[in-house]
Chain length 361, copies 2
């Protein structure tokens, strides 16, 4: 196949083509410096400009003031699962975890492994994580409450964030950061692997409120303390430079091509509406998440049988619509429609789904 497909993969995921083209055109000689962006020193002016511009754009897009620090780390959300209790949960404290699926469960387990006192105060496991719990039963003096804002596998998303009465919220936003506006103030820490809405795999964004930095114990290994990253502009050691560079370009694309985060959100709501409307009005397809908990990013659905799902995924692939297979742990189908998925891609998908329903209904 010589053309690009519409890529509905859950992550690593589709990137804006203009960003890929920009990386490509200068890959052997970054801005005329005589080196590839992969070859420049992280202590150079060129890289300083990249990382600082990325941070400025992130702050502007999310309306972040001086109370939060923007950090670039490694190890994905899974490393954050381990670092969060290590940094923010002392032995005499407890933390609340809301369980909305696979990733929340993993985050909880990494605290348990460390012998920390964590409470699963709410869960949607009773109905296979098909909804976001409404009764949270939060502990008044918890060190933090941990949530997963969007659940890539189960196709659910927090529509809004509850008031936690001063308890810092820590949120894994790997699969919906930069997809919509939100108020950063109540969040003690927001973290996200880049490979869905921000860039390629290999860098993790952390946005941390400065008062959280004061809680971190001294006796942690340097690379496992948020303070190390905050103190050194994320360059205590060599950062994942290339991945940060791509993040910078994606942030620039949101600001300058899309027109900012509210435009991005408008587009994402429109894309999700087209797809969910189609699913709700066609008997061959059935959405798996409760209506009020549906994700704007990962649209999960089933067909009438597993055989039909297999055929659907195979036919879609042949028609240039890739990555529609559900996560191996749950099966079914999933269209991940992150920022870089165009309206055109959604229209093509819906058109294909209609044809497939006519032929196989």
């Amino acid at each position: 196949m010589s053309q690009r497909i519409f890529n509905f993969n859950a992550g690593p995921a589709t990137l804006p083509l203009s960003v890929i083209k920009e990386i490509q055109s200068g890959l052997d000689n970054y801005k005329g410096c005589g080196m590839s962006v992969m070859e420049i020193s992280h202590r150079s002016k060129w890289f300083d400009d990249i990382i600082n511009d990325a941070i400025i754009r992130i702050k502007r897009l999310l309306n972040i003031g001086d109370e939060h620090e923007v950090l670039f780390m490694q190890g994905g959300a899974s490393m954050q699962f381990a670092m969060i209790p290590m940094n923010f949960l002392k032995d005499n404290e407890t933390a609340d975890y809301i369980n909305t699926g696979t990733w929340s469960t993993k985050a909880f387990k990494e605290a348990v492994i460390q012998g920390k006192k964590v409470i699963e105060t709410a869960s949607s496991e009773d109905r296979n994580f098909s909804y976001i719990p409404k009764e949270l039963n939060l502990t008044a003096d918890a060190a933090y409450v941990h949530i997963t804002s969007n659940n890539t596998i189960k196709g659910t998303q927090w529509a809004d964030f509850s008031d936690t009465k001063g308890v810092p919220v820590i949120s894994d936003m790997s699969s919906d950061i930069f997809s919509r506006s939100f108020n950063i103030d109540k969040f003690g820490l927001v973290y996200a692997g880049a490979q869905k809405n921000m860039g390629p795999a290999g860098v993790t964004l952390a946005i941390i409120r400065k008062d959280m930095l004061e809680k971190i114990p001294d006796n942690l290994p340097s690379m496992l303390k948020y303070t190390t990253y905050a103190d050194k502009n994320s360059m205590y050691n060599t950062p994942p430079c290339f991945a940060i560079y791509v993040v910078q370009l994606v942030m620039k694309w949101i600001e300058e091509t899309i027109g900012g985060l509210s435009k991005m959100e408008e587009l994402n709501r429109k894309k999700a509406a087209i797809l969910y409307d189609f699913i709700d009005n066609n008997t061959l397809y059935k959405g798996t998440a409760d209506l009020d908990s549906r994700s704007l990013m990962n649209v999960t659905f089933r067909l009438l049988s597993e055989d039909l799902e297999k055929k659907f995924i195979a036919d879609a692939t042949e028609n240039g619509l890739g990555g529609l297979k559900g996560h191996r742990s749950v099966g079914g189908c999933r269209a991940s429609i992150y920022n870089a998925m165009s309206i055109e891609g959604i229209e093509r998908l819906v058109e294909f789904m209609g044809e497939f329903a006519r032929k196989n209904g």
Copy 2:
């Protein structure tokens, strides 16, 4: 500047131009799959082929058999500094550390932070780390002995590795892996950040002997245990896919363009010889490392004054020879001449150094 320079940066460092060109040409559509290599799922056949080919080539190049596992991790050598005592040093055990400079010192400190019993059994600090110690005074029943095989900042390198009488050697090989052949058998663990001899920043190679995996405690966070990576072919969570892809291409370049590791070593010895011979025969320049401890990768030298060094670095930059400034902690000059630095680059450098000496001697 429209041309590529000769890049003597210590890391991130120069990459083979043919590798950069290969990445560049297919960046918008990897092998006709319709996606960028940055956009493909790590659970896809395409990425499986990349990571498995990288591992096969690494094993072949280093002559690694079934006793060792090849792992891809994140966080650079600094994360390894923390993980090593966490994984391999129980509370009733001690480990030996040989201190040959900045990075060895950091590795030692990360064990101390964790309250582990570590002994600095040898050090070259008495003469500003300008040599590799000969008397190692190893502890007979140490859990491991940690060394830094090449010292990027001080310009020294272990010419050979001593017999440790069964104590596993753990070596940071960030700045000399794949530069020469060595016998992997005595190493319990070899690790290396990619950004010098292997690829871009953002992935860490670990080669671990299988008996080491049995020593790892169960109660470590998943991302901080080597077993997690060994059990899941380095894909417990999303790996740094793009960086691994570049590593694969660099390994292919060593095998197919250079002709293997012994050819690579021959070339590296030749390059270092040209440069050291020049330095030893010109009174304007003075090498900083003892003759028997000189690094084949990082050639550190001083000029007669700091002012002259500043001028040297500035004039070199103007002449398309970049990255010759010594590390900010030691000053002076340094030419990092990793695998991807060509003989032509060395010849151009020596030619420039000669001219500079004639004009400023």
